[in-house]
Symmetry: C2
Subunit: 260 residues, 2 copies
């Protein structure tokens, strides 16, 4: 089990409770997704928020009210096939659960949004180092001073991930990640953290700090955590997300998401 | 007036009734858009239809319920700044009007979708011929046998535009239009019309036929008319669109829409 399994077999393991951990590195080469579930009455506003902020919130799939089966994973069930879910009521965390069969009803709309695992594999394949993978840590994430374009009740500061590399590697990283427009695309910033409101790279808001070596610059990509901040800040009666690192694994291959 | 005017001045002429004709070739270099207005209760489904069919329905802007001012054209008024509007009730055409001040209410949501004028300019700049411009005709449009991904009440066959060129020019056209992912992007087909259900290129479903010279192949792009078919087929109580060729002219420059 793990790296070489198929998405369908991995989801089966998750559904039956045999796989409860993070999905990083599992079913390599297949697209993993952030999950946001919310009441139908807020679906237009949230979809519009994603459309207006495609870099942090790239839309992979939308499951209309009450539908449990994603288009990007036929046979899957969005209520059971994520290893760990987070439940929020009126913006407050209520805890984590292994499935949402009890909470999901005919009104809930589910959004699957791209995550950076796809382009990290492509960076490695292109010879660009991914420090958080080298150090076996969670990627460093920061809340920036940049604001997303709001839509209805949804608004959020832009959250970014950071990967340190040489300027030469950064050029290659721009080229490689530009192809992956559905998993955050090209970087949103390189160099000075202060320019985007980050005071101390060694103290990320989420995830772990990583080593920045002499001659390296920080390169910043939009991050899916932005969508989590937006949905919790909106104080909806009920919101369900995946637990960080515990993603939905789809049948799409990383290369299916490339533009070129 | 015309080619060299600014979008703001052109819209002023349109608003005051001095410009009532098609916008092709006006304010060259600025992005023109298809317009769809519909009741708020159908907005989520239609936005989802666009998200699921980004090639025919690339979203440039969405104006939430009752808002008349587009983000992509500050100071403009979507109720008056299109030269000619089409009104549909329960899917049936009711006629054309010069403004929709009477029809627009607090509930109406407006969608501005990319059109092919932007990439036609880029094709010409790259030395690729655009036969419909050479012949001063409306581009040839065809209803294909390909079906869009439905969303709620919205579904439609894919409508395409066709431009004939040599295979060598077609390669260049793929490169050039790939950059314009918000104005239909790369072609959806090249060569045999029958493969996408088109029986006779000399009889387009909309627009005019153009000459296809020896050694040329037809190259097909997704077309914004797809969205018009989808909204009229949905039989909503009220739908307003632009009249074909009479587009909304935004302040965005063509180059603002390029991915690379």
């Amino acid at each position: 089990m793990g790296t070489n399994t198929t998405p369908a077999r991995l989801r089966e393991q998750i559904r039956s409770g045999k796989w409860t951990g993070p999905t990083s590195g599992a079913a390599t080469g297949f697209v993993q997704a952030n999950l946001v579930m919310l009441p139908g009455e807020a679906a237009f506003e949230f979809l519009l928020f994603c459309v207006r902020n495609p870099k942090p919130c790239p839309i992979l799939d939308v499951l209309e009210s009450g539908r449990p089966e994603p288009t990007i994973a036929p046979g899957a069930d969005i209520r059971t096939d994520v290893p760990k879910y987070r439940v929020f009521r009126h913006g407050q965390p209520e805890g984590e659960v292994a499935d949402v069969l009890d909470l999901f009803d005919r009104d809930m709309v589910s959004f699957l949004l791209g995550c950076s695992f796809s382009f990290e594999n492509a960076l490695l394949a292109a010879g660009v180092p991914v420090r958080n993978i080298e150090e076996d840590k969670n990627v460093s994430m920061y809340i920036t001073s940049k604001t997303c374009r709001p839509a209805g009740r949804f608004t959020s500061p832009l959250v970014v991930t950071m990967r340190p590399m040489t300027p030469e590697q950064a050029v290659r990283a721009v080229q490689v990640t530009t192809r992956f427009h559905l998993t955050h695309g090209a970087p949103i910033h390189m160099g000075s953290p202060r320019e985007i409101g980050i005071k101390d790279l060694s103290r990320p808001d989420f995830g772990d700090p990583v080593e920045i070596r002499p001659g390296e610059i920080p390169v910043f990509w939009a991050c899916g955590v932005t969508s989590s901040l937006a949905v919790t800040a909106a104080s909806l009666p009920l919101v369900i997300t995946h637990s960080p690192g515990h993603m939905f694994v789809s049948d799409l291959k990383d290369e299916d998401l490339t533009l070129l």
